[in-house]
Amino acid sequence: MNQPDVMILDNVSKAFGEDWERETVVEKLSLTVKRNQLTAIVGPSGCGKSTIVNLLAGFELPDEGTITLDGKPVTGPSKNSLVVFQETALMPWLTTYQNVVFGPELRGDMPKNELKAAADKIIETVGLREFRDKYPLQLSGGMQRRAELARALINQPVVMIMDEPFRGLDAMTRQLMQEFYLRLCEQESRTNVFVTSELEEAIILADSIVVLSNKPASVREVLQIDLPRPRNLDMLSSPEAYEYKRQAMEILHEEAMKSFSGTGTNSDFLEAYSRMG
């Protein structure tokens, strides 16, 4: 139960579509998610990150290869690998509190008064005490993400999968959420997979960053991020962080170029793009 590798993806491939137009989205992807660490997954946009999330969560099953969670193969969605979705997936017809207790109530695996106490505590932790009985549409974007975090946390998943959870927030709220999430992770260790397209977000949050190749997605590189903890957003301007960023950018840039190569007509654009990097 306590081996350091919580989730192991071994040579996973996934394709979509009918035979004659079958498109491989993930190809021979292998990675491990370490216990009590935050593993960030970054990759060029459209490289198949969402498919990887669906595979990790058990919404899709791999065509080839295996995915194991704590030694057992993943055969479908379960509370042990919960997803915090890109756009909020809070049920609009439930209040913050009702959303948070949704999972435990469904399974009935917690005594009622215990559940109430746990839910109130988690709502307090994410700073939504005053909004306990509000509906999602009455919350701001940042509050919705925090409510959704609370809803996932109360289920005590073995792995929490964050699918670009701060996408669509304005820059200021996004920073606040990153800081909030840093504190949350550092207070109590959890196993996290954090999918993002923002490199800096990955660097500041993660213990290791998995850099994906262009579609079909496979692992290009795994960067260990050894910035000291507790961290803060200011560390992004440190030389170490800059070096991580440079390394990752280089790979992402190469991968981004690949999607243009072969067309030949875009050479001017490509040149401009590489100077920008």
Binding site: G58, P77, L82, V83, F85, M91, W93, L106
Partner: protein, 278 residues
Amino acid sequence: MAQSSKNKKDGKLKSLFTDLTLRRGVFSIVIFLVLWEVGFRFHDWFGIMVPFIGKIDAPSLVAARWSEVVFKPGYWESWYLSFGRVFFGFMVAQLVGIPVGLLMAVNKYFRGMFFPPFEILRPIPPLAWVPASIIFWPTTELSIMFVTFLGAFYTIVINVLGGARSIDVQYLRAAQSMGATQWDLFRKIILPGTLPSIFIGAAVGMGITWEVVLAAEMISGGGQQSGGGLGFFIWSSYMGGVMDQVIVGMISIGLAGYISSSLIRYVGYISMPWKRMF
């Protein structure tokens, strides 16, 4: 925080708004009645016949006729009969339509089997069913209710089907990963997620049932009972050449429809608290 005080302010604004809406509504109705009255009186006053409106009995005449009619039990019996038919047809349409719509949404075999015949039957206007339904059903009453039922049924099914199919797959996925069974998904996601569409379907369907019930009453002669429903009330007033009474009947229908749709809106408001803050 700032959010909660904003909500309070919104509440105040809302009550002010509804007050204003009410005043606007009363104002527009008064203007309408005045124009109608003047249009009718124009010929008497200035010798000019206003087209169309000049021939329709003025509101004052209609009101006078109405004040007589309200003391006749037949008038109220008409209300009662039409309301009964609408209510019965509408309720049966809900009871059958909502499950059929939901089943079509969640089960592809059921959808495959029932959608094509449903789509063939749907374009047939309910009134085209009147002759067949008079033959088919033992009493005129039942055949009117059947036609009323058809009026609301298709709209309800289409709305429920569309509503349930457009539920965001992420809600289903989130619930699934938290351990929801198929039954949980249906009960806790699909049902509440479809509720807004159920009420839209109900409101539209209710409008259609009123249209249909009146026409059905006119065609069938209103059943055996005296009074015979508001549709028959209009028809017999027309046959008797009592034009102002026809208008009394028309306005009665308008009011009946408004009362019915207000009731549906109210029930929707009560049962969907999350839709209330706008």
